[in-house]
């Protein structure tokens, strides 16, 4: 499946635009989480894997290479040693005539020099073409012994020189045989053979200076130990594992040894002799540094993943919440706009209707008034009382109608902006009538303490009505049923009048007071737009006034509006 289709099938790139349902934000959160995790953890994972293999290779080389070098070096030492001894024997065979070598006294003298100069030689003997040892110098009595039955004899006859495996032979201690064949001018063949002990082998192995947690030994090609091994048996024991593949260069193989441990075997085959040099180390020992590093890589990876996941979780949470908040704000602003639009439409409609109705109402008023006048000026006649009361009811009803049309017009007027000279008390009373019903139903104790001689001010009636309506609404919302709201108007100084609206409701915390004039801040969850007080604040500022808040949680709130008597320059319409 292509990645694109995969993304599609999981709806990963779909960010639903509309609606406020929790499903939308859940999906959004999920998609963001998955995408962010994918784009961070997948590369991290690949990097960790690549690092893992690179470090593995680098470290293995670093650890294994010195071993290889050591094994090669030691092999050369062995080969050099054997070549030296062999060439000594070969030199003697060439330097002395057969007659002299056949003479045991002469041979004895030569043997002494050999032991003195080279060391390691145990005995030396001359074997004639019949395979009989005709002269011998050494610790055993081997003169006259017949070697024709022995395999090395045939090999030396064929090859000319011979280096044997280590063996016990007649001598009952590990040694090996070197032999060279020579031919006299007369065509007779003879063989000079010498034996050397394996003491020197042990010295060479020891000179490798391996640490005690490793093992080094020599094997022959049939897997017989030629030097003692620390773990796999003594000299001439069978090596308990299969031999590694042939290689004359130092090579490394991993295998499981007879004790069930994973070991790293560094080995090399000798070129001219039948030996294999091997160094065995426990893999755990060798690769300890690597295992440490591997664990570290693993933990760093896990730690990074945990940190990334936590950060992404937090980040996604914050981002989605921000989105949700801004969506909600947009929604609220949109609702407010819609609301305002609706109000202004209703306002225009109401104004039209009110105007149209006002004229016929005026006519009815005059006619009924005239009827009343006529009744008053006429003499008594039957049912005069009744007519008077009927006409009175008509006039009362007209008054009711009048107050309705005026309220409608007042509502419509709030949509316009205009400065006029007005009586603030009148505006307050008018505004109060809008909320009269609510106060009645909720049994609120609403008191208007209006200064009787309050000077008229130049301001915008509609806007002020909105201000007081908002503030009264908030007070009503803050108090319990039966609570008290007091509206007071007074002259603050020569240029300013003030209106304070005091309630004994729930009050606000310091923190809330700080935010109440910020757009979209609301404590009326679900019902508030968070625009009432910001609009109020904006209007008051526009009219050149100030608003002051005093509130104590549980005690109540007092909002005081200060208005200039005359709008300052540049203020208002």
């Amino acid at each position: 499946m292509k990645i694109h289709e995969w993304f599609k099938s999981f709806h990963l790139l779909e960010f639903p635009e509309e609606g406020e349902s929790p499903v939308r934000y859940r999906l959004l959160r999920r998609n963001m989480l998955i995408l962010m995790l994918l784009t961070t953890i997948v590369p991290l994972f690949f990097m960790a894997v690549v690092n893992y293999y690179q470090y593995q290779n680098a470290l293995k080389d670093e650890i294994v290479n010195p071993l290889r070098v050591l094994v090669n070096k030691t092999k050369h030492s062995f080969e050099l040693f054997l070549a030296q001894r062999l060439s000594t024997v070969s030199f003697i065979a060439s330097a002395y005539p057969l007659e002299e070598l056949a003479d045991e006294n002469a041979l004895n003298r030569i043997f002494r020099v050999m032991r003195q100069e080279f060391g390691g030689f145990i005995d030396i003997g001359l074997i004639d073409e019949r395979g009989i040892q005709i002269s011998y110098v050494g610790p055993y009595d081997l003169k006259g012994k017949d070697y024709t039955e022995q395999s090395w004899y045939h090999e030396v006859v064929i090859r000319g020189t011979y280096v044997s495996d280590v063996f016990m032979g007649y001598r009952k201690f590990p040694h090996l045989v070197l032999a060279v064949q020579r031919r006299t001018d007369a065509g007779k063949t003879w063989i000079l053979r010498a034996t050397i002990d394996t003491e020197k082998f042990n010295d060479l192995i020891a000179s490798m200076q391996l640490d005690p947690r490793s093992d080094a030994f020599l094997l022959n090609k049939s897997g017989i130990l030629q030097t003692p091994s620390r773990w796999y048996g003594g000299i001439l024991d069978q090596f308990p594992m299969p031999l590694p593949p042939f290689s004359t260069e130092a090579n490394v193989v991993q295998m499981r040894d007879s004790h069930g441990q994973d070991v790293l075997v560094t080995y090399t085959y000798f070129v001219n002799s039948p030996y294999i040099l091997a160094v065995v180390k426990h893999e755990g020992e060798v690769l300890r540094a690597w295992y440490t590093l591997k664990t570290e890589i693993f933990f760093i990876f896990v730690f990074s993943v945990v940190v990334i996941v936590l950060v992404i979780l937090k980040l996604t949470e914050v981002m989605v919440r921000r989105m949700q908040e801004s969506d909600e704000k947009r929604e609220a602003a949109f609702r407010q706009m819609e609301h305002t639009h609706k109000l202004s439409s209703i306002g225009r409609l109401a104004a039209g209707v009110a105007h149209e109705i006002n004229n016929p109402l005026a006519i009815i008023n005059e006619k009924a008034g005239l009827m009343m006048d006529l009744l008053e000026y006429s003499k008594d006649f039957p049912e005069k009382q009744k007519f008077t009361s009927l006409t009175d009811v008509i006039l009362q009803s007209i008054n009711r109608c009048r107050s309705i049309t005026h309220r409608l017009l007042g509502f419509a007027r709030r949509m316009e902006v205009q400065i006029e000279v007005l009586d603030l008390n009148e505006v307050l009373q008018e505004t109060f009538t809008f909320l009269e019903k609510e106060a009645l139903y909720r049994n609120l104790d609403v008191r208007l303490q209006l200064a009787p001689d309050l000077p008229r001010i130049a301001s915008d009636r509609g806007q002020l009505q909105q201000v007081f309506l908002n503030l009264l609404n908030n007070s009503y919302a803050a108090v319990e049923d039966g609570g008290a709201v007091t509206v007071t108007s007074y002259e603050k100084d020569l240029d300013t009048v003030a209106v304070s609206i005091q309630d004994n409701g729930c009050g606000m915390s310091e923190e809330t007071i700080k935010h109440i004039f910020e757009p979209f801040f609301t404590t009326k969850k679900g019902t508030g737009t968070g625009l009432g007080l910001p609009i109020t604040y904006g209007i008051i500022k526009k009219l050149g006034g100030e608003i002051e808040v005093q509130s104590k949680e549980g005690k109540g709130t007092t909002m005081t509006v200060y208005l200039p008597k005359k709008p300052k320059n540049g203020v208002g319409a």
Binding site: A354, H355, N358, N359, L361, A362, I363, I364, N365, E366, K367, G369, L370, D373, L374, Y377, I398, R402, H406, L409, R413, E416, Q418, E420, R461
Partner: protein, 125 residues
Amino acid sequence: MNEWKVLLVDDEKEFVTTLSERLHLRGVQAQTAFDGQEALRLIEEDPPQVVVLDMMMPGMGGLEVLERIRRWHPDIPVILLTGHSSTKDGMKGMRLGAFDYLVKPLNIGELIEKIRKAMESVQEK
């Protein structure tokens, strides 16, 4: 009250005739005009002491009539009738020099009170 002479101007004939009848009952001499032209003509023929003028009239509107009265007869106070107390037109009328304004439907006592005040203001001058 006999010396009061008032001109009522409104396109609503029923309204204006009934109102004039009611004023007559109270001893006010009230003439009626149903549009601006007629009102101006009547003022030229026989100047009233006070003009009660509706603002919303077809043809020549109340404000235009007011302007002309102010220009040619600045000593005749004009009381405006309006559908509402503070529309832009109402405010404009006050600025143009109307003596006062009243909101329809009228309270007859209030109207007589305003007329009295207007008369007094003329006599003070």
